[in-house]
Subunit: 133 residues, 2 copies
DNA sequence: CTGCGTGCAAATGCTTTGCAAAGAC
DNA sequence: GTCTTTGCAAAGCATTTGCACGCAG
């Protein structure tokens, strides 16, 4: 129940650094990853502030939470088209994937109604494959 | 590092009740759901025992964890074929789905190697649809 | 009997929150 | 100056673990 931007919102170094993390990285980030990035420019960001800003930015519609099975929540810039994610088993980084051919249709029991779906691919990302050779 | 069943394992009322929950329900269950079921037959099961037995049964290969985005872990009987799950937005129950046509192939970035995938359908289950009419 | 499994309560680990002080405007 | 945002530390929650006792074998 938060109005768009009719209510005063202040710009702080911390909030700027947090937003910058997403703009510069363009990859779903976990709170800890956001903290690391933000601390590069603003050394004294606290994890509590990261969590608070993530929540605020989600409420504002600037971020969307990315929930993955068995993983801490990640967040990504909102407004993107329908897409899914890739989780590297090695470095635990999450990447966005383009395209989703919803041709897979597991049989739904009678009377069930599906509204949406989540797909996650697991594997090794380009950066980690060399380490696996 | 637990051997199959060469090492002594004792049968207790609690463990029996926990195993029964899965056999009788045939649906992925959360620790809390397991506790509720188990307490029907053994009134004094503690949640700690549920967690301990879930871990043991997974180590023994009798259960497999079912991780879903943003949800507490569920567990289901092992040995089933590759399948995916359905989460009811209403009652939060998880159901197993048969069949998976892996025809959906989001574009992988160059150099990425996918090993497996997870698919979750969201919707309303047959039991909850009437309440939505 | 022996010692594994259990209940309880304390300990985690991650996320949220209260409060006084710092900072934006 | 006013009122939001921050940092710190304490509070919450779900899950795990230490310990002494109870029960299976």
């Amino acid at each position: 129940m938060k109005a768009k931007n009719t209510i005063a919102t202040r710009n702080t170094r911390q909030k700027d650094a947090i937003r910058a993390a997403f703009v510069e990285t363009d990859r779903p980030l976990s709170p800890e990853e956001v903290l690391s990035y933000a601390q590069r420019s603003v050394s004294d960001v606290s994890i509590a502030t990261v969590y608070r800003n993530l929540k605020t930015l989600v409420d504002d519609g600037w971020l969307v939470p990315v929930q993955l099975p068995g993983e801490p929540a990640r967040y990504e810039l909102s407004g993107k088209e329908h897409h899914h994610h890739f989780l590297c088993k090695d470095c635990r980084k999450v990447y966005e994937l383009e395209g989703c051919v919803p041709t897979m249709k597991p049989k739904l029991p009678r009377g069930f109604r599906a509204v949406s779906h989540d797909l996650l691919l697991h594997g090794i990302c380009a950066a980690c494959i060399p380490r696996h050779a």
